[in-house]
Symmetry: C2
Subunit: 335 residues, 2 copies
DNA sequence: ACAGCTCAGGCAAGCGCTTTCCTGGCAGCG
DNA sequence: CGCTGCCAGGAAAGCGCTTGCCTGAGCTGT
């Protein structure tokens, strides 16, 4: 690997001069020398060692992002927003997948700190786990103490800049709509119990329906299609007379739809289904899913924006509103 | 930010000793000193500066990945495979989105080189652009010349390790199936013209149908739902008597389905639709898409594996087979 | 008791770069 | 013609870390 010294030698100048022309320093350099340096760079295919640069000039330009899983459509959308802003600002993004493993999340924060990243964005639900939360907060505080910036998406517990999807509000909208259409016996297909996203949405649905949800009408499962199908099956078997299934994300709702079709249950004539998130797939299934739209790209974009802005004394918390999207999978409750 | 020197000072040892206990060097260190160092590390929340470490001990542990767009489900899957292997091997992954911009791709390769990454994986179709291809090959060669490893996914032009989806084979399967079911007037909804993926699949379809495709039966559009819908509309309007629409990826097929439904055309009774890739959505739409499955996760996993293995003299090229997935959107051609 | 060994721990070089400060040559001035 | 001032270019000091090599203390063996 060619080094700056190699370039300087070949151009017959000092490393200082070479560095200056390569970085477009403000210090003037005679055209002839500049020329020679540039030619040497080209000849040697020289690319500066980013690590050496970062050591010498501690100007952190990369930002770290920890998500549950980029390949999950939810995070894919959020990440798109994150990336857009970062790229616009000339920042490189390191994406880390925690796969919903709190330990791994902790490790990544540590590692990102070691990478001297300018900012860390934590995307994705928090956990109902005080011990973990404390450790995380501690680590983030240590990072921030050294000038690092942190922004989180959808984590109430973090005492800093945050952008929050209106999970509870959106769920309330959904609950109210179910109630308006006469649904009284609603099964809820919930996500993993330990996620705050799950509990927020769950609470919102109940509130919107102006009812308490008996435990047997709630099934917790993975936030996936298959999880949704399984939970739907259990719910249908366990609770007779259900008129609607509220899935706490769209993947699960799609799973429920699949199961219902397999069982020959008509949607929404016999059983209605609603989802959450308004993923692209929601509009493509049949019947098209009634769901709640979350501005996912915007969520990511705002979080990155906050992360790249200098800290202010008071933490900024932005809540991005949810919106009910009426499609075909929700109808009036059968008489 | 606490440095190793701080830790050493606080522990009352030399930086050398501190470094050794922190990295678990083979050199023995007395328990008492070790203890003191560890305590200092904890007290100061010390995390080694990864850049300084990389400078001092040029042991590259991160790998770079350039994809068109992680949020695209196709690449989300591929990325999942890439990540899995990388993580298993203890490697950090830097993901770069080129957004199908060749220039950006070039820049990223350069940047990754500067980051001293251990390997670069280029995922995603190549371009029909000899100039770009030459420049890219040149840059990659420069990188490899300094010990970097490169693996590509689905790019014939790269003279090195590669893993290839069987685009042409899969398309041939699809074409043959269309033919078998009596379809003779088939419209093709193709992806961007400049992508090799598009031309490979297009050629395969024609070959499988044992027919040449008149230009007016092919429409090029973005590899998206909307692109698919638009192309489908154009095709339907331009070519009367079409019995099937072959989209060159599933998103476009879904778009076509949507358009057909909007126009009240029954699928597959009046017009059949086929897709490509077997994305999760393919099974969820109605009618479920007949498509070709590509082992996307595996594609990523293999590519990363190749990239992390030492180079061998002869480039390795692995072709991962495609498989026809029969569902409901393809039926016999109407009489 | 002393030579010679072992071994824990420290010194210092060096990774590739940036940047401050200095130098030496030149023009401009008195 | 000599002095000052200016400026392009270079020397060198780090940035934070690892590691080869050296040192000196404590042993062993005779």
């Amino acid at each position: 690997m060619a080094t700056l010294a190699d370039v300087a030698r070949r151009a017959g100048v000092s490393p200082a001069t070479a560095s200056r022309v390569i970085n477009g320093s403000s210090k003037p350099v005679a055209d002839e020398l500049r020329e020679r340096v540039l030619r040497a760079v080209a000849d040697l295919r020289y690319v500066p060692n980013a690590h050496a640069q970062l050591l010498a000039r501690p100007q952190r330009s990369v930002v770290g992002v920890v998500v549950h899983d980029v390949s999950d459509p939810y995070f894919a959308e959020v990440t798109r927003g994150l990336q857009r802003v970062a790229t616009d600002r000339g920042r490189l993004v390191i994406i880390c997948n925690s796969y919903r493993d709190p330990e791994r999340e902790l490790e990544y924060v540590e590692m990102l700190r070691g990478q001297q990243v300018a900012a860390i964005v934590l995307a994705g639900s928090g956990y109902h786990d005080p011990d973990f939360t404390a450790r995380l907060t501690e680590k983030l505080a240590a990072y921030e103490a050294t000038g690092g910036r942190v922004a989180v998406i959808g984590r109430h517990e973090h005492p800093g800049d945050a952008v929050m999807p209106a999970n509870a509000d959106g769920a309330r909208l959904l609950g109210a709509e179910l109630r308006r259409l006469g649904h009284r016996r609603v099964g809820v297909i919930a996500g993993p119990r330990e996620l705050t996203t799950t509990s927020d949405r769950l609470a919102g649905v109940a509130e919107g329906m102006a009812a308490t949800l008996p435990p047997q009408r709630v099934r917790y499962a993975d936030f996936t299609r298959d999880g949704g199908a399984r939970a739907a099956a259990e719910l249908l078997d366990a609770v007779p007379g259900l008129t609607a299934l509220a899935a706490l994300n769209d993947s699960m709702a799609v799973g429920a739809l699949t199961l219902l079709r397999a069982r020959g249950v008509r949607v929404p004539a016999e059983v209605s289904v609603v989802g959450f998130d308004d993923m692209p797939v929601a509009a493509d299934v049949t019947p098209a899913l009634t769901t709640v739209r979350l501005p996912l790209v915007e969520l990511g974009a705002r979080a990155m924006t906050l992360a790249l802005e200098p800290a202010v004394d008071r933490p900024r918390v932005e809540v991005l509103p949810a919106e009910l999207v009426r499609r075909d999978s929700l109808g009036p409750a059968p008489a």
